[in-house]
Structures are given as structure tokens and as C-alpha cells.
Amino acid sequence: MTRLLLALLLACAVVLPAAAVEPDEMLHDPALEQRARDLSANLRCLVCQNQSIDDSNAELARDLRVLVRERISAGDSDDQVMDYVVSRYGDFVLLNPPFKLQTLALWGGPVVFLLLGILGLVQFYRRRAATAGAAQAPLSDDERKRLDRLMRDDAP
């Protein structure tokens, strides 16, 4: 029974993603450290390009983490830190690219495709409604007479 409970408990345990930040890199002030973590999570590791520097244990990522912390400790604002790194490596280093002319297709593309889809859908339903309407053409004279007769027969 205890085994089962333990197993259940383990199954419910929250698995936290392992960050690469080592204890000796961390800042003493938890607020500053949290800022550094948040910034690092949005900076691309340039060695293993689909990881953030917060996740990556590449050496260059470590050096970048240390640099972010140094600048935060020196009193830089979040924007100043990010601007510095972008000024060295370009927008590519940001995992969340900014909205500007070069990234218009990136950010605008999905919206354009969504609009195209909605337009297509509207078109489709309109056409269906139109064909459905055409099927309900007015009754011919013969049909009307027959209908009238039937209605009369049914009358109480």
C-alpha cells in the first residue's frame, strides 16, 4: 500500500525544467536574479541555436549569462541589457523577434492566412446558401393546384 502511495506521489511530482544556471553565476539579490533569468530565457544561445542561454550549458551561453548579470548589477535596465546583446548579435539573438519591417511576413503571415481562410469559408457558405435558394423555385401552376387539392382533402 505504501509503495502504491509512493508511486502515485512520484507520478504527481512536478518535474521542473532543468536550467543551466550554476549556483556560482547567480546574483545574491533574488529580484535581480529573477530579472536575469527572465532576460536569459529570451536570449538565444548562439552555439545550440534552438535553446535559450538560460537552458543551454554551452560555454558561450554561460559567458552571456554572466554578462547579463554583470550589466544588471551595474544598474542597466532590462532594455539596455537586451539592446547591448542585440547590438552585438542582431535580432537573431532574440527568441521573441520584434515587430518591424523585416519581420512583417513573420508576424503578418499568420493573420493574412487566417483572413484568407475566413474569406474562403464565407464564400463557401454564401455559395451553398445561393444554390439551396435556387432549389426552392416557385411552384408551377400544376403543382399549386395539386397542393391545394391535397390541403383540402386533409381539411377536417
Binding site: L46, V47, Q49, E59, L60, D63, L64, V66, L67, V86, S87, R88, Y89, G90, F92
Partner: protein, 177 residues
């Protein structure tokens, strides 16, 4: 006219295919040179072990020069090294070295003793201070710097005869005018 609508998906596919053909052929490691046209970043590197002169940004003023980022751990740097030695022997252009991320302070100097030292000055950069300031992502990388200390060109990967003949040497002659 109505038939054309059915061709639309094919058209979209072709356009996307075109982007993929171009995009997949590009090297994601090759980043734009953010420093091009800007002064070299400020740095002041300590000498490597056994030397008494380091390397700082104002050493580059007054001449066209190359700043080469290397490390004894870097295989491609070893491939490149004989060519840099040749540049030094022929006295074509001064090359300055940034010895990047040596885990062992002896490794860089030992490497230069073994394979020859093509550098006018070498700075030790174990914590990537200068490397990050230059926007380096891997070694070797070489930066062409003009007389005013402005970065004019970045080459990622080993410098060889082809890169030299086609790109670097013509640029150097241009910058010397």
C-alpha cells in the same frame, strides 16, 4: 476564371517551396556583422601567460589590420593557422589575436610555440569579454579593421588562400588608399 482558384494552393506551395529552397541553403550560423561600419568595441585584454603585453582596442588605430579570434581547442583554427603564419612572414598585414576561452592558461602559449606565432599582439579572453563585444559565435572569426579603427568586414571560419585572394586582400588594398 473559376478554375484558377483551384490552382491557388499549388501557387502558394510553389512560392513557399521557393522560400524553402533558398532558406534551407543558408547557413544559420552565419549572422549579420553588426559591427560593420562601427568602431571596434572597447576592450582591454590581459596578456597570455608568459608575456607582458596584452591587447586593447586602441592598439588597432592608425593601420589596416586583422583581428583574429582563435583558441587552442579549436580544430578549424589549426587548419587556418599556417595561412596566418604565411601572412606574417610575407608582412602583408598585421594580425592581432584574441585567445578565446582557454580553460588552461598554458594552452594558448603552448599552441603558439608549437605552431608559430603570427600575431602582432595577443590578448587572453577566457570569459568571452572581447568575443561577445565583437559578436563572435565560434572560432575562428576574423575582423578587418581600417585605420580609424572601424570594423569593415567579418569572416566566419578559417581564412584560406581563396578568401584571401577574393575578399580580404582586395579589401585591404582598398582600405589602404
Amino acid at each position: 476564371m473559376k478554375r484558377l482558384v483551384y490552382l491557388l494552393p499549388l501557387l502558394v506551395l510553389l512560392v513557399m517551396g521557393g522560400y524553402f529552397v533558398v532558406g534551407l541553403g543558408m547557413d544559420p550560423r552565419e549572422l549579420p556583422n553588426m559591427l560593420e561600419g562601427k568602431p571596434v568595441p572597447d576592450f582591454d585584454l590581459k596578456p597570455i601567460k608568459g608575456r607582458d603585453r596584452g591587447f586593447r582596442h586602441d592598439d588597432l588605430l592608425g593601420q589596416v589590420s586583422i583581428v583574429n579570434v582563435f583558441g587552442s581547442w579549436c580544430v578549424a583554427c589549426r587548419v587556418e593557422h599556417p595561412f596566418l603564419v604565411k601572412i606574417k612572414q610575407q608582412g602583408l598585414v598585421p594580425v592581432y589575436g584574441i585567445d578565446w576561452r582557454e580553460k588552461d592558461a598554458d594552452a594558448g602559449p603552448a599552441w603558439l610555440r608549437r605552431f608559430g606565432d603570427p600575431y602582432t599582439l595577443v590578448g587572453d579572453d577566457p570569459q568571452s569579454k572581447a568575443a561577445i563585444a565583437f559578436g563572435v559565435t565560434g572560432a575562428p572569426e576574423s575582423f578587418l579593421v581600417d585605420k580609424q579603427g572601424v570594423v569593415r568586414y567579418k569572416h566566419v571560419g578559417p581564412v584560406d588562400q581563396e578568401v584571401w585572394d577574393n575578399t580580404l586582400w582586395p579589401l585591404i588594398q582598398e582600405l589602404r588608399k
